[in-house]
């Protein structure tokens, strides 16, 4: 059970993700975005940051990184694929999740603990939580304002407040199958009481539980 954590130029949360997953008993390894395979990983995380400096649009360049071909193949095969913050933006640009991101409604970079509510437990991120469960996790983004004109998006977590104008107060969105999930706040930064919250654990533990055991020799 290995999770590949992709590093794009400009990613800055990859070590937090690896730390959190290992703390929770998972195996996690960093994979460079130019690699065209995921070293046999059973699941993948696209971490937060500013891949390729957010040039043109957030995630617009990153979606063409060589590693994204394999990420797309895994998503199609039903493997767990999680995008956090900038990783969520990359998944939308890649067309693996519906919608797109624009600047926060008030043009403020939101750096705050926010409360989110689980509204759909049928995904690789929310399977361990009960519906209606409220979690307090940090949000750190300028372009966290998700829009989905087609309304195809499956909103699986909502902000209880409205910190950025995101449509339907969406904080996390899944594909129809529930194996590809994007979340704008950072569960990996809420896994130890000493840093302010442990509420991210239930999400990342659920994610790890969804990772199939390796069948390769």
């Amino acid at each position: 059970m290995t999770v590949a954590v992709v590093v794009f130029p400009g990613s800055n949360c990859e070590h937090d993700v690896v730390h959190a997953l290992r703390l929770l008993g998972g195996e996690a390894e960093l994979v460079w975005h130019r690699d065209d395979d995921l070293a046999g990983a059973d699941a993948v995380v696209l971490p937060g940051g500013f891949a390729h400096g957010d040039a043109l649009r957030t995630g617009a360049i990153a979606r063409f990184s060589p590693v994204m071909t394999e990420v797309g193949r895994m998503a199609e095969a039903g493997a767990p694929v999680l995008g956090i913050c900038n990783g969520f933006q990359v998944l939308c640009e890649a067309g693996l999740l519906p919608g797109a991101f624009i600047a926060n409604r008030d043009l403020r970079f939101v750096c705050a603990m926010v409360d989110v509510e689980v509204t759909d437990t049928g995904t690789i991120l929310t399977a361990g939580a009960s519906e209606g469960r409220r979690l307090r996790i940090p949000l750190n983004s300028y372009e966290g304002n998700w829009v989905d004109p087609t309304r195809r998006g499956r909103v699986v977590m909502r902000y209880t407040d409205d910190p950025n104008g995101s449509q339907d107060r969406a904080a996390a969105v899944a594909n129809a199958a529930g194996n590809v999930v994007g979340i704008m706040p950072h569960p990996e930064r809420a896994v130890e009481a000493i840093i302010g919250s442990e509420d991210g654990r239930i999400l990342l533990e659920g994610f790890l539980a969804s990772v199939p055991q390796a069948t390769r020799a």
């Binding site: 617009a60 797109a100 926060n104 409604r105 304002n145 989905d148 004109p149």
Partner: protein, 80 residues
Amino acid sequence: MNVTVTIRRRAVIADPHGATVARALADLGHTGVRSLRIDRTIHLDVDGDDPETVRGQVAAMCEQLLANPVLEDYEITVQP
């Protein structure tokens, strides 16, 4: 050939930067601004001398990278 691409966010999608600039204009006494949207303009110099061929190439660039099909439309002007 010189090509200008205007990337325009669709009217149904919010434009927080445009809304902020519109408020600033009103604060400065410029009343009567009914709507303000900020587009993105991209200038390219592309190999070739057939305008329609170049237009097709730039359209492919827009579809693949320059515009986000969820949010934006694009308009291509090839300079004569």
